[in-house]
């Protein structure tokens, strides 16, 4: 197909604008990595302008990852919370979505109302905090796994996907004598991998990146997830006492530690998401259109 001159200009502009935008979005991440591996004297010599590191030093990483460092236990907490949390969250979401996707279920409208109302009105930060306190979950090892384990939005996305699965498939399995549990496990779930990957990833990101629930409910450094430790390193530009204690010696300049800590905390998600990307669009469309 031949382009007219106007259209060619349109296409060219589009390419340029999108490329510039993408570079602007990505370059800060590259910059952080560069700063984290550049020795401090070079960093200050060059006034902080380091796009391509010329000399390398891993002193910041060595400092943060010294034996006995708080980072290890915090990382362990985050991995544990995230793994348990995603499994629990997928379980709650799949079971509820599958039941509510059955249009003939008596009382379906009432149950939907109960689930959807929480999207419209919530008790708020303080009533929720007091509830957690009264449940005795404050500062417990499970609180972060539990409080993020369900999202009405994800349930609705999954329900819409299940509703799109042909009724006849379920019926024929049912005639063969399969129970609802078996239909869900052996017929519906294998067909639902895109939406399970999408919703699973959404939960994964929520669990890995949470710091605010940790700020509210966790005060013990040994139960703190890695984002909370990072927040202390980055926001207050001071290091948590436990980190200093374990690392012993005087720390290297803060800015490098901050950047190295950012890389350590952010890296796993940035490695994972491109692999699941192909499912996003399929998975998001079904839910979004129906709301």
């Amino acid at each position: 197909m031949k382009l007219t001159r106007g259209e060619a200009a349109f296409v060219a502009t589009n390419y340029v604008v999108l490329t510039v935008l993408t570079v602007l979005i990505v370059i800060p991440f590259w910059y952080v990595v560069s700063v984290s591996i550049t020795p401090y004297h070079i960093f200050s010599e060059r006034n902080g302008l380091i796009l391509f590191p010329t000399s390398f030093s891993f002193q910041y990483y060595e400092y943060l990852l010294k034996k006995g460092s708080l980072i290890y236990s915090a990382y362990g907490n985050t991995i544990r919370n995230t793994a348990a949390g995603v499994v629990l969250a997928l379980f709650l979401t799949v079971t509820a979505a599958y039941a509510l996707a059955e249009k003939k279920l008596p009382g379906r409208r009432i149950f939907m109302l109960i689930f959807v109302f929480t999207m419209l009105f919530k008790g708020g930060m303080i009533p929720t905090y007091i509830n957690i306190k009264q449940l005795g979950l404050l500062n417990s090892s499970y609180v972060l796994i539990l409080v993020m384990a369900y999202s009405a939005f994800n349930m609705i996305v999954m329900k819409s996907f299940f509703e799109g699965i042909p009724e006849s498939l379920k019926e024929s399995a049912s005639i063969d004598g399969a129970s609802e549990f078996r239909i869900l496990w052996q017929v519906v779930l294998p067909l639902s991998m895109p939406v399970i990957a999408t919703v699973g990833l959404l939960y994964l990101v929520v669990y890995w990146n949470d710091f605010f629930n940790a700020m509210l409910y966790v005060t013990d450094w040994h139960k703190a997830p890695v984002q909370l430790v990072l927040r202390t390193i980055v926001a207050s530009s001071s290091l948590p006492p436990e980190l200093l204690e374990a690392a012993g010696s005087t720390p290297p300049p803060t800015i490098g530690i901050q950047m190295a800590a950012i890389v350590i905390v952010a890296l796993p998600m940035l490695i994972v998401y491109p692999f699941i990307q192909k499912y996003f669009e399929q998975g998001m469309l079904v839910g979004s259109v129906k709301g």
Binding site: E7, I25, T95, N131, R231, V265, L270
Partner: protein, 316 residues
């Protein structure tokens, strides 16, 4: 009397039994519903009971029932507090700005990406713009602080380059809201565009072919085919966004703000956190929670109503 009830029971029994049999048929589905139902009741509905503390002099030791009724005392205190008024105004302003930028940017991005015909290039761009969505605001806030820092920040270097005066941008109330809106757009617009990209991909290709036959240019095709095709999605996304109008971005603000910019950047959520969790004035903070929740609920109901009127595509 007895006779009457007996007769009614006789008549209605088959109906009741039929209904019970239907319920029994789906018993396993109710079992499946149970875990999520329990979660919602414990973690979403139990807290509703705690709203009452906004109307009492809440005492942690004696609990809710042992606390004295206070009426609207804490609401009055809020409206007299300058800090609350700032937080309230900032929440609405920041939310409004973000609604405009955070709403238009993803749509424009999706439309622009759709015009890229080179598959690998499009895919690379998409992967790249999704990236910031996958880091927390702790991480992104740290990166922004590095870029905006007064001595070594790259942004200040660029300002100097163009002959401007360097400044400590994150402590200037005049710049703070702009920083929030721009960084929010940079972080979220790639991911937010996915829904529109998916919606565009679902449009009927025959309509495009017909438009090409009729001699429509690319821009005309965008305006007359693509945009009308995704209007439903745009409206649903807009309603969802309006429902969050009272949430101006807690995770972002709490990682970027500081006392110097409270006047311009403090929002209801950060206000509630400071008053309630840090200063432990639970009743006052809960009153702010109630105001926030009530206005949010009203906004989403109104938006849904309007959407139904205009386009018949409300979400409930």
């Amino acid at each position: 009397m007895e006779l009457v009830t007996a007769r009614i029971a006789e008549q209605s029994e088959p109906v009741l039994r039929r209904r019970l049999r239907r319920v029994w048929k789906y018993k396993l589905l109710y079992v499946l519903l149970l875990p999520a139902l329990a979660w919602v009741v414990i973690f979403d509905y139990f807290p509703l009971y705690g709203i009452g503390i906004a109307f009492t002099d809440y005492n942690v030791i004696q609990g809710f029932s042992g606390s004295e009724w206070a009426g609207l005392k804490y609401f009055r205190m809020l409206f007299e507090s300058e800090m609350f008024r700032h937080a309230f105004r900032n929440t609405l302003l920041i939310s409004l700005y973000k609604m405009i930028s955070g709403f238009l940017c993803p749509i424009l991005l999706a439309l622009a990406l759709n015009e890229i015909r080179v598959a690998w290039f499009k895919k690379t761009l998409q992967t790249a713009v999704y990236l910031p969505r996958f880091v927390s605001w702790v991480v992104y806030g740290g990166i922004i602080a590095l870029l905006l820092s007064p001595e070594t920040g790259v942004v200040n270097k660029i300002i100097e380059w163009f002959g401007g005066k360097p400044a400590y941008l994150l402590v200037e109330p005049a710049y703070f809201r702009t920083i929030l809106v721009v960084t929010d757009a940079m972080k979220e617009m790639g991911w937010a565009a996915i829904i529109y990209i998916a919606a565009i991909a679902g449009l009927n290709p025959e309509v495009y072919e017909a438009a090409i036959m009729d001699g429509a240019t690319r821009l005309q095709r965008i305006v007359h085919v693509t945009l009308p095709g995704i209007t439903g999605t745009i409206i649903v996304m807009f309603i969802l966004r309006v429902g969050y109008v009272m949430s101006a971005g807690l995770d972002q603000v709490i990682n970027l703000y500081n006392p110097m910019v409270f006047e311009a950047g403090d929002i209801l959520d950060t206000y509630i956190y400071r008053i309630g969790i840090e200063q432990f004035n639970l009743s006052l903070a809960a009153a702010a929670d109630v105001i926030k929740g009530a206005i949010g609920l009203a906004m989403v109901l109104v938006a849904n109503h309007i959407a139904k009127r205009v386009n018949d595509s409300g979400i409930f």
